[in-house]
C-alpha cells in the first residue's frame, strides 16, 4: 500500500505575485465558505464557493515542486557518522508490495525494487549491500518510524507530497508513477475513459484513485452503500489496493484504479489482468524519506541516486517491473532546490 492520504495535484502556474494573489483569493474564499453558514440566504453561493475552493490551492499541503530535493553530496555528517559507527543502515520497507518490497515466503527474505535501492544506499554508506537491517513497517507508521529514530530511511513506495515534506525530508524522485486502470485482459475496458460506463470499479479507501473517481467516474459504480460506517461492505472501496485484486478475481468488480507501480505488482500476481490505457492519468513521484533535518543523509542518498540512475536503476527495473510495467525508458530527472 502506498498511500491512503490525499495527494493534491501540483500547480506550477502559481508563481510570484500570481501565487500570492492566488493564496489571497484562497484565503478569502475559505473565510467566505467558513462564514457562509451564518448567512442562511446564500445556499447557492455556498455550493459554488466550495467548488471554486477545491479547485484553488487552499489546502496548506499544496506547494511547488515538492520533489525538488537538496543537492547531492558525498560528504559525511553526524547522521552518516552514526550509521557508519553502527555498521548497519536501518531501512523501513514494505513487505506486502509485490515487486517493490515483499517477503518471499519461500526463504523468508525481502526482495523487490525498493529493496535493491536500499541495498545500493547501504553499499555506498557502510560499504556492503548486506550491511542493512530491514524493518517491515506498516503504512501508517512510516513517518513515526523516522521521527522516533526506529529507522534511518524509508524506502517504501512513498509518494513525495506537499503535506509530507513538512514532516519528513525526501530524496530526489527515484520513480515516476501515476494512477491507471487495471482490468482483465479480455475486458472491454480500455482505460480511464468512457469504457468504464456501467462497470464496477474498485479503489482503496481515501486513495488518490478514489478521489479521481469521485471527480469523474465515467458512469462507473465505485462507492459502497455504507462507506465510512460500521456496515461498510468493503466491496468497491477497500482498505488496501491488493484487496481489489481479490474482488476482481472473485468476479465482484470489473476494474481496479490504483497507482500503476502497485498495479504492476498486482498484474505480476495474476497473468490474466493488465494495465489499461497508454499512460497513467496522474503524475506522482516516489522518494526515499529521512528524518527532517538529517540533511547530510538526504544529500548522500541523492548522491547515491545520481549514480543509481546511470545503470543499476535500469537493471532493477528490468528485473522487477519491466514485465508488468513496460514502456518506461528511465528514471525521472532529479530536481534540486537551492540551499
Amino acid at each position: 500500500m502506498t498511500d491512503s492520504e490525499a495527494r493534491p495535484g501540483r500547480r506550477r502556474t502559481l508563481r510570484g505575485w500570481g501565487g500570492v494573489a492566488g493564496m489571497a483569493a484562497a484565503c478569502a474564499l475559505t473565510a467566505a465558505v467558513t462564514l457562509l453558514p451564518l448567512s442562511h440566504g446564500d445556499v447557492l453561493t455556498h455550493g459554488a464557493g466550495q467548488g471554486v475552493a477545491s479547485a484553488l490551492p487552499v489546502k496548506d499541503d499544496t506547494c511547488e515542486d515538492p520533489e525538488a530535493s537538496l543537492t547531492p553530496s558525498g560528504a559525511d555528517g553526524p547522521t552518516i557518522a552514526a550509521i557508519k559507527e553502527r555498521g548497519k543502515l536501518i531501512v523501513g520497507v514494505d513487505q506486502n508490495s509485490y515487486r517493490w518490497g515483499y517477503r518471499n515466503p519461500v526463504g523468508g527474505g525481502l526482495e523487490g525494487f525498493d529493496i535493491d535501492l536500499a541495498r545500493a544506499i547501504a553499499d555506498d554508506i557502510v560499504g556492503s549491500p548486506d550491511a542493512v537491517i530491514f524493518r517491515a513497517i506498516p503504512t501508517n507508521q512510516r513517518i513515526a518510524a523516522l521521527e522516533n529514530g526506529t529507522v534511518d530511511i524509508v524506502v517504501r513506495t512513498m509518494t513525495i507530497s506537499c503535506g509530507r515534506i513538512k514532516q519528513v525530508a525526501f530524496s530526489t524522485a527515484y520513480f515516476q508513477a501515476g494512477q491507471q486502470v487495471l482490468a482483465s485482459k479480455s475486458s472491454s475496458i480500455t482505460g480511464y475513459d468512457k469504457s468504464l460506463a456501467g462497470k464496477r470499479v474498485c479503489s482503496a479507501e481515501g486513495s488518490t484513485a478514489y478521489e479521481a473517481l469521485e471527480r469523474d467516474s465515467f458512469g462507473a459504480t465505485f462507492k459502497d452503500e455504507h462507506d465510512g460506517q460500521p456496515a461498510d461492505e468493503d466491496l468497491y472501496t477497500v482498505p488496501n489496493q491488493l484487496d481489489c485484486l481479490v474482488r476482481l478475481q472473485q468476479g465482484l468488480v470489473d476494474a481496479i484504479v490504483t497507482d500503476n507501480a502497485l498495479a504492476a505488482g498486482q498484474a505480476a500476481q495474476d497473468p490474466a489482468v493488465e494495465l489499461k490505457g497508454d499512460a497513467p492519468f496522474t503524475t506522482e513521484y516516489y522518494g526515499v524519506a529521512t528524518k527532517l533535518g538529517n540533511d547530510d543523509l538526504v544529500r548522500r542518498v541523492n548522491q547515491v541516486l545520481v549514480e543509481y540512475r546511470k545503470g543499476p536503476w535500469k537493471k532493477a527495473y528490468d528485473k522487477w517491473l519491466a514485465a508488468d510495467l513496460p514502456g518506461i525508458t528511465g528514471p525521472p530527472q532529479a530536481k534540486y532546490r537551492a540551499g
Partner: protein, 466 residues
Amino acid sequence: MTHPPNVRTAPQPAPAHAPVLPPAHVPGGPAGRGAWAEGRRRLRAAATTEPGRLQIIGAVLAALVVAFGAVTVLEVSSRATATDDVVTRSQPLTADAASIYRSLADADTAASSGFLAGAEEPRAVAERYDRDIALASRLLVKAATNAGSSSESGQQIAELNEALPRYTALIETARANNRLGRPLGGAYLRFANEQMSRDLLPAAQKLYDAETARLQQDDDDARFWPVLSTAAGVVAIGALLWAQRRNYRRTNRVFNHGLLVATAASTVLLLWLAVGHTVARAQLTDADRHGQQSLKVLGDARINSLKARANENLTVVARGAVLTDDGKSDKYETDYTAGMNRLGEQLHLAQRLADDSAGRDPVDAAVRAVSEWQERHKDVTRTDRAGDYDGVVRKVIGAKGSTGESFDKVDAALEKALAHEQREFTAAAKDARGALSGLPLGAAVLGVLGAAGAVLGINRRLSEYR
C-alpha cells in the same frame, strides 16, 4: 385412560345390588333421548333413598380419585418428557451449536496462524484447521436433522452450509498464493476472515440463539407447575373427607376402611406430586444456574479468546494494511484489544458463577494465562515497533514463550472448565428427570387403589341396607 371401566366394574362384585346406576351412565343407547331422560328420572328417584344416594356418592368419589390419578399421569408425563428433552435433546443441540461456532472461529484462527509460519504451513496447524472444518460440517448435518428447514435454526444451517464451502475455497486460494510467494495470499486470507466474521459467525450465533431459545422453552415446560393435577387432588381429597364426615354423622362410626385407604392413597399421591415436582424444579434451576449459565459465559469467553487470537495473527499478516475507520490505528490490533477486554469481563463473570473449586480452578488458570498473554503481547508490540518482523513472528507463533503458547493455555483451561460445567448441568438435569421418574406409574397405581378403596368403602355401607 383404560382405568375408569376397570375401576367401576371391579369393586362391584354383585352388580345386582346396584341395578339403578348403570343405565344412567350409558346414555345414547338405541333408545336415544328417551333412554337419557329415563336415566335422569331413575337417578332422581334413587337420590330420594339413602342406598341410592350412597351409590351416587361412591360413583362420584371413585370418578374423582381416578380423574386425579389420570390427570397426574398425563401432566407429569409431559413434564418428564420436557425434562427428558432438556437432557437428551435441546441441551446437547445447544452445546452442538456452540461447538459449531467455536470450530468455525478456531478454523479461522488456525488458518491465520498457519499463514504466519511462511510458505509451508506447520502440519499441526493444518490438521487443526481440517479437524475444525470437519467437525463443523458434521455438527451441521446433525443439527439439520433436528431442525425443520423452515425454522430459524433450519435457515441458519442452510446459510452456514452455503457459506462454509465459499470460506474454505478462499482459504485454499490464500494458501496457494502464499505458496507461490504472492502477497495476494495475505489479501485472500483477510477476505476469508471478513467472510467468516460477516456471514458465518453471525449465522452460527443465530443458530446458537435459536437452540438456546428451544432449550429455554423445554426448561419452562418442565418447570410449569402441574396445576390441573394439584386441583384434581385437592378436590378428590376434599370430597373423600366430606363423605367420611357424612358417614360419621349418620352412623357415628369414625372409620370407614375403604374411604380411609382412598384418602391415604390420594394424599400420598398429592404429596408425591408436590415434592417430586418441587425437587425437579429445584434441580432444573440448579442445572440452569450452575450449568447452563456458566456454559454460556465460558463459551462466549472461548469465542472471544479465539477471535482475539485470530486478530493478533492478522495484525502480523496485514502489517498495517488495514486501518480503523478513523485511519489512526491498526484495525486488527484494535479488534484484538477489544476482544481481550471482553474475554477478561467474561472470565470475571465465570469466576463468580463457578460454585465449586473444580469449576473455579480452570477459570482461574484461564485468567492467569490471559494476563500472561497480554504481557507477552505488549512485548510483541514493542518488537513490532522496532521493525523486527522475525522476532514478532517468533513471539507470536513460537513454541516457547510466545503469545500462541499463552493462547493455548487459555483454550485448554476453558475447555476443562466447559467440560466440568457440562457435567454439572447433565447431572442436575438428570436428577430432575429422576425426581419425576416413578411418578406417572405411581399415580396410576394410587389412583386405582384410591378408587377401589372408595367403592369398597361405600359398598360396605350399602350392604348394611340389604
